[in-house]
């Protein structure tokens, strides 16, 4: 650590106290503090968006000229529905506040059952950020150039500010206004609220999983 341990510990305790003061809101979001041991906080997120399924249906149009075995070709329609009993899986995050707030919080995505890393291709959702212009950005990226693991590429997260492509966006510009609660809120917004699961059945039998922001399924 580069910051005096006592200072770091004091800031950690303050951030934790602020986080716990928002307990009612966190629970409403499906966010649960699993463990805290300086300088780490483990948090479990439980999504509650139901799974949307989209199935292509070929409509047969009856035609008196054609025989029943040779029906007139028809159009493709997509039937959509929500499966109430299914939703995205819960996930864990390990938030590291080592050297906070000289450095921003670091976020790692872990399996909440084993606390082992989640793999990008098979285990992780696709987190979305909708900017002020309505453009949708995919912000959970597969391989950080330094940490060599999936990472959330959002300002205020250590992995973002460490990334060579964001060297001009210094954490020190935002340090005073970000902390543990805002970090967790950001994770919730991008990885839960705006990561609605959709199962799309393609006409030729392929099944695709798509993640969309809230209200855009």
């Amino acid at each position: 650590m580069r910051v005096d341990q006592l200072v770091c510990r004091s800031k950690f305790d303050q951030e934790l106290e602020r986080l716990r003061s928002q307990d009612a809101t966190l629970k409403k979001w499906g966010v649960f503090i699993y463990a805290d041991s300086f300088p780490v906080v483990d948090v479990v997120f439980v999504p509650r968006h139901t799974l949307n399924i989209h199935i292509p249906v070929i409509e047969q149009t009856p035609n008196p000229i054609h025989t029943p075995v040779d029906p007139k070709p028809a159009g493709l329609k997509i039937l959509s529905s929500s499966v109430i009993v299914l939703s995205a899986r819960a996930f864990g995050t390990r938030i590291l506040l080592e050297d906070f707030d000289q450095l921003p919080p670091s976020v790692e995505f872990l399996d909440p059952w084993t606390w082992k890393p989640l793999k990008y291709d098979t285990d992780l959702f696709r987190a979305k950020h909708v900017d002020a212009n309505g453009k949708v950005w995919e912000v959970l990226l597969p391989n950080h150039p330094i940490r060599k693991r999936p990472f959330l590429c959002m300002r205020g997260i250590r992995e973002y500010h460490e990334h060579p492509q964001h060297s001009g966006d210094d954490w020190m510009l935002y340090r005073k206004h970000s902390g543990l609660f805002s970090t967790i809120q950001m994770i919730w917004k991008t990885c839960v609220k705006d990561a609605v699961p959709n199962l799309v059945f393609q006409p030729k039998g392929k099944i695709q999983v798509q993640w969309t922001p809230a209200g855009q399924s």
């Binding site: 602020r18 950005w137 995919e138 912000v139 300002r155 005073k176 206004h177 805002s182 809120q185």
Partner: protein
């Protein structure tokens, strides 16, 4: 409290900041007051977004009354986020 005013709880980085808000005034006036009270004046108020607890962004120009806000409703203030995704 006067009839046209309500108390809104703004949450700034996990800290509750109660602010009296005029129902006929844009909600940004409450935002600006909350930032001032919580000593978050290092960045322009326009860089702070307002969200309800469902995570929906609110138009800072909209009036508190138009938004249907009620006494002790909770609103969250966060810096507009830069994203480095794809």
């Amino acid at each position: 409290m006067p009839e046209n005013k309500i108390l809104i709880i703004f949450i700034v980085n996990g800290v509750d900041v109660p602010v009296e808000v005029n129902l006929n005034a844009p909600i940004k006036t409450g935002r600006n007051k909350a930032l001032e009270l919580s000593n978050n004046t290092g960045r322009p108020p326009e860089e702070w977004e307002i969200h309800n607890d469902a995570g929906q962004p609110l138009d800072p120009e909209a009036k508190a009354g138009e938004l249907g806000l009620k006494e002790r409703d909770r609103l969250f203030l966060n810096l507009k986020v830069g994203a480095g995704g794809a």
